[in-house]
Structures are given as structure tokens and as C-alpha cells.
Assembly symmetry: C2
Homo-oligomer: 400 residues x 2
């Protein structure tokens, strides 16, 4: 099997003529019933600092072309994550270089590249995939408070590139888009400048643009039991081709920062349910303190009934959790207001969005005190297939 999509060669600078690295290949036994031994580079990697995400629409109706696209994408991802240039023809004077070149001399900086399939892919004519869509890969239904834009939502395929160097992440999306010419067109994309989640015990909790620590109660990759229970697709529920995979939901969440910034500190903290600087649950002292949803003071709950952390907590959601892995973004100026457009590009991973993201967000969308300060403007869901075998490609379990 190969870790087709995670960088294992951090110390090498890319050269132009360097031979293809084999460091990115691993040889683990295939145990599809035990998802933990598959290579799932993204959710289990400590979140990198920068993101470039792109959603594509398919413009071919040939299954063979789709298969070839995924083969080429997998090969290019393996090269890029190993710190190699894409392709072999990069010094041939009469030909366009295979690689666009802007990462020559850069380290891969923990680059990971992840591919996903949207529900609309399975409805495309000619692919023969109509009956293979997992039930869990249902379009996200309308949710309370949604203000979604068509151009910022959906997509037949997605590519997520994460790296500590934004030029490396950009390069990955650009070169995959280039390889995809004729088979896909880019539908939307998102640059994330700072991570807003911690996915490893070795990482500090970062702050989102509201100035609060985000993801204090997130699933950590080291928690194998939680990863198995909430993130990786096992033997039940999803079709066999998804075993060892997961489902990703993305939500583009605009923050009404001007409004937020005018709120008193006490209101901000009551809205979130944590104190701003330490990140401790209200009534607690440390970030790692347990949420005490029963605590009262003067007959009122210490963590308000509509506080974000209460409504998002596992105990209010039938024990369900998700792995969050989002990024802060800014997209220039809202011309009508003369204010920065910025927010959170929310990304989460789970075994079944119908049982995890959707009910959690339904509850939040209906009652979260935070809704006064945010707008959900984009939404998408993708099936993330399992990692590939050494001579295979990501997606082969579906496309054969």
C-alpha cells in the first residue's frame, strides 16, 4: 500500500532532475476490516497550517477518462508529497514542462493531498455509478439559517491540499487542475490561511477569527477508539468500496466580525461558553476542563442554554462527535459595507454525515447564540475513499 498522499520526505528539497523518491511508499498488510491500518493521510495527520481546496465539476461522461484522471492525480500527488516535481519532462526545451515549477527549491512542508467524490458525481450520465452512491453520501439538506450560494457549494470531485507552506498547497491544486483539463472544470476554490483545529495531542489549540480557541474538544488522531467510532468507515453501513474511507463536509462560514467586535467580552464568552483567553469552559479554570453542563449559579446555568459549546457537545447530540479540521479565510472586501469578508472554512470528517454533521448543525442552526454573528454561505459533502495500493490509485475501490 502506499501513502499516496502524505509527505514522508520532509528534509529533501525538490530538485529538477532528482529520481522519483520511494520514501512515500509503505508496505503495510491490507486489513480492510481494520481501518486504522489503512493510510488515511488527511484526518490522521496533525493539521497543517495552510489549505488550498478546490471543487470540480466533471465535463466528461467517460468512465475510462474519470479512471485515468484519478490515476494521474494519484501519481502526481505521490510525486508532490515526496518532494518531487510532477512528471518527468521538466527540462525538455521544446516542450512545456510537466511541472509548473514554483516549488522548485521548496520543501513539501508536510503536504497532504486528498481526493473526494460528491453526490452529484454518481448521478452523472455515462459513468455507471448511479447505484453505487453510498447512502451516507446524501446531499446536505437545507438547514436552519442557511444562506448558501450556488457557486460556493457542491462539486462532483474535490481536491484538498494542506501544507505548512501555502505556495506548496497552491502548486498542488494548480497542477492537479492542469492535469484535469478536458475532464474537469474548477467550480470553486478556497484558500485557508490559518488552521483553526487541533487534530493531534502535540498541537496547541489555535484561535479562529473571533479570537477564541477553536477545537478544544476535538477528536485527536491519537485517540484510535474515537477515530474508529466516529471517523473511519468500517464494515457496516457504507458499501465495501468505502471501507477505510471517511466522509467530509465543508461549510463556508462568514463571520460578521464588525458585529462580533462590538460585543462585550462577557457576551462573547457567554455566546461560546468558554472564556476567551484561556479557553476554559465557563465555570472551569483550564482549557482541558470537562464541560459541566449541569452547573448553575443563582439558578441559571453557568454555561448558557444557547451557548455554542453546549449545543455542539456530544452529550446533547446522542454521543455523536466529528473530527473538525477547518481553516480561517479572508476574501477581500464586502463592497457594500467596506468591511473585510472573512470567516471560517469549516471542514469535518465522520463516518456518516446523516447521523453526525447534519443533526448537530440542525441543532446549532436553530438555537446557537453564535448565529447572530455568522452566516453559512457554502456547503458541500464528499466521500473520501480509502488510500491506494502501491500500483493502484485513489478511487480504485469504486472504479476498478
Amino acid at each position: 500500500m502506499r501513502a499516496a498522499v502524505s509527505s514522508t520526505s520532509r528534509s529533501r528539497r525538490r530538485g529538477v532532475r532528482g529520481g522519483r523518491s520511494v520514501a512515500a511508499w509503505t508496505a503495510r498488510p491490507e486489513l480492510p476490516e481494520s481501518p486504522a491500518v489503512w493510510d488515511h493521510p488527511l484526518p490522521q495527520a496533525a493539521a497543517q497550517d495552510r489549505l488550498h481546496f478546490a471543487a470540480f465539476d466533471l465535463v466528461t461522461s467517460s468512465r475510462a477518462e474519470l479512471r485515468e484522471l484519478l490515476r494521474e492525480w494519484s501519481r502526481a500527488a505521490a510525486e508532490m508529497t515526496a518532494g518531487e516535481l510532477v512528471g518527468s519532462a521538466n527540462s525538455v526545451q521544446p516542450a512545456p514542462p510537466d511541472d509548473t515549477g514554483e516549488t522548485v527549491g521548496l520543501l513539501p512542508s508536510r503536504l497532504s493531498v486528498t481526493f473526494g467524490f460528491g453526490p452529484s458525481l454518481f448521478g452523472r450520465r455515462g459513468l455507471g455509478l448511479r447505484r453505487r452512491r453510498p447512502a451516507a453520501l446524501a446531499a446536505i439538506p437545507p438547514l436552519p439559517g442557511d444562506e448558501l450560494g450556488d457557486r460556493e457549494s457542491g462539486g462532483d470531485l474535490c481536491v484538498q491540499a494542506c501544507s505548512d507552506d501555502p505556495q506548496v498547497a497552491f502548486h498542488a491544486v494548480r497542477n492537479l487542475a492542469r492535469i484535469g483539463r478536458g475532464a474537469v472544470v474548477m467550480r470553486w476554490s478556497q484558500l485557508g490561511f490559518g488552521r483553526t483545529s487541533t487534530t493531534s495531542r502535540h498541537q496547541d489549540t489555535p484561535r479562529n477569527l473571533m479570537g477564541f480557541k477553536d477545537g478544544s474538544a476535538n477528536i485527536r488522531a491519537e485517540d484510535a477508539e474515537a477515530m474508529r467510532r466516529f471517523v473511519w468507515v468500517g464494515s457496516g453501513g457504507s458499501p465495501a468500496w468505502m471501507r477505510g474511507g471517511t466522509y467530509m463536509v465543508t461549510r463556508r462560514i462568514r463571520m460578521l466580525l464588525e458585529v462580533w467586535d462590538r460585543s462585550p467580552l462577557a457576551d462573547q464568552e457567554a455566546t461560546i461558553g468558554r472564556d476567551k483567553y484561556e479557553g476554559a469552559p465557563l465555570g472551569g479554570a483550564k482549557e482541558s476542563d470537562r464541560l459541566d453542563l449541569e452547573a448553575e449559579r443563582d439558578g441559571e446555568p453557568v454555561i448558557p442554554a444557547d451557548a455554542h459549546v453546549r449545543l455542539a457537545s456530544a452529550s446533547l447530540n446522542g454521543g455523536e462527535r466529528i473530527l473538525r479540521r477547518g481553516y480561517s479565510f479572508t476574501d477581500g472586501v464586502d463592497e457594500s459595507l467596506g468591511q473585510l469578508e472573512a470567516g471560517l472554512f469549516f471542514i469535518c470528517f465522520q463516518r456518516d454525515p446523516r447521523r453526525q454533521f447534519v443533526p448537530i448543525q440542525r441543532r446549532l442552526g436553530a438555537g446557537d447564540a453564535l448565529n447572530e454573528y455568522i452566516k453559512h454561505v457554502g456547503s458541500a459533502v464528499f466521500a473520501i475513499p480509502p488510500g491506494a495500493h502501491k500500483d493502484g490509485y485513489v478511487g480504485e475501490t469504486l472504479l476498478g
Copy 2:
């Protein structure tokens, strides 16, 4: 005098209640005839990795309000570059925090904050500045090949924040915009994800999104003679209030990457006039080799007549040079084409754009082989006043 705007306190993490640092203050003698001893944090700092730039329009006609804005901006910039929170009221429960908080726990990462005045500022009613506009601060005239958008050009004031951490740069622009509410509205902004220039002998030359090293022949800050001759305003030409300052030109340059990526390597190299990987001038072997504009092979110039490096060279421009300090950007997807919108946010500094940027770009816009692959879509020019005295503010030489 104070280095109001350069980070000198790299090793400190921001705390919430930490006392104001005095490390950012220096005490150099004031020698306005000798610009090198002024504090000019931006052009002389080794270019940081990330940029957040914003242009503002003034919405007050009160000179006192403009003065107060610049005073507050200078104070906040001094705090942020020293690794402190903005303001003092950040833990007062009934009040909105002065600082938005997303950099708590982060290092300033060499943050610099620079303020500039656009030509339109001097024409605003009520400010009494009409006769104080430097002749060198003329609006950039229409240039060959311009395809400028109104919303991406101009501005009465600008704020440029550079840092190795994009969240720190974003935070600076956001907090200054917040301080400016009621006096300014944001007109446009630009996030730059990777530097495309080297401004110090200690930096490698980075690559732009065409995959070429950019800025090999740039002025380096260590070259005091070139900085004095080409960058800092001295005693002649500009009004006294600009002595020790400089002029900044910004150009938003979209790259037609799809077209570029289909060009053979030989064409790419002939277009630029350097080889792609080493960055050596054509006919040379090393990046640092001198441009030999006379060299011929088979009766043809080795560096083509329309090569970018030839037309941009000092020898073709009456000996004039500029200090480049630009960043790569991407702004999502061009919906009509399904392609990445990306390019170079070009920034340069000089003593007089009328003698430096404008004629250089006129020559390039008319004849540069690179024009086939780029479009200039945004343009602005700003006077960057000199650094401030300890108890003063940036802009005091103009506003008193």
C-alpha cells in the same frame, strides 16, 4: 525616534495583560538630510513571507479626525509589532475588548505595518492638503496594456502589513480597519501568500507563480548607496515632509497561467530572458551572473530584444532602478473559465515614480514578451511618509 512599525521583539509571545513593551523604541539622532538613519521599516526589512494589504477611502472631511486616526494607527502598530495586544481594555467583562484577540499566543513573526497617502487624499475637501501633494505623488497615468478595475485601484490611504504569519498580518489590518471606523472605509484589500522578491542578501530568491525566480537583480537593503539613490526621498525634489520617506506603487497583475503552462520551456525562458531553474541570464551559468545584453549567437541576441529582463534592466531605463517587494496571490476561480485566478501583487518602492516605475512600465507594457501572459488589473500609488518620533505618529510631518 521610534521604529513604530517594525517588530523587534520576536521571542515574546503575546500575553493578555503584559505591560507595554519598550523594546520597539529606538533613540537615533534625527538627521533628515541623511535618510538612512531614519527608521523605514518596510523597504529595509528582509521581505516577510506573507502580506495583507488594504486601501481605504476617507469618509471624514476633518483634518483633526485624520490626524487622530493616524495617531491611533501609529500607537496600535507600535503595540502589535512589539507583540502586545492593541489597547489596554482586553479583560473588562462589560466592554468589547480593544483587541480582537486572534493573535493571543502568537509571535509577531517580524510584523511590519506601513501607512501611505494616495494622491486622492490631497484633493479631499476640508483637509487643507491641496497644495501639499508632492509632485512625485501623481496618479499613475494610463499605461500600455492596462486593464484596470476601479474597485482594485486607488485609495486615499493604505495599510500594508507584512509578517511571516498570515494570521498576524490579517489581525493588523483588521484591527486598524476597526480603529478607523467612521473615518475610513475599506476600498480594496489583497492577501499575498508568498513573497516574490528578495530584499536582503540573506534571502534566497523566491519563485513567482510562473515558476521563475523573481527579483534576482533587485536592490538589496544592504546596498545603502542604491537605497539612497533609488528608494529614499532625500533633500531634493519632494517636499520636506517626505524626507526620509519613499513612494510605493502597487500593481495587481493577473497571470494567464493556463496559457503560460502550455508554453514550451524554451519559449518561457526566452520570454523572461533567464533559465527557469537556476535563474541565470540566458548565456550565463549562475543566477548572479551579469546580464549580457550585447551577447549574440548566430547573429541573434542571446537575450531576446523583447525579453522581460532586458526591457526592465537599468541600462535600458536610463540607469533607473526600483526596489521590488511583491507577493503571489490567488483569488479563487474565474467562473467564466473554470480556472484559478492568480498572479503577482507587484509592489515597488522608489524616490519618484514619474522617473522610475512609470517609464519602466511604459516600456514593458509596450514591448515585453511577457505581456502575452499577464494583465495589469489594479494600480495604486502612495506616498510613504518617514518614520515617527517617539511621542509622535506616522504622518506628523504632513499633518503637524
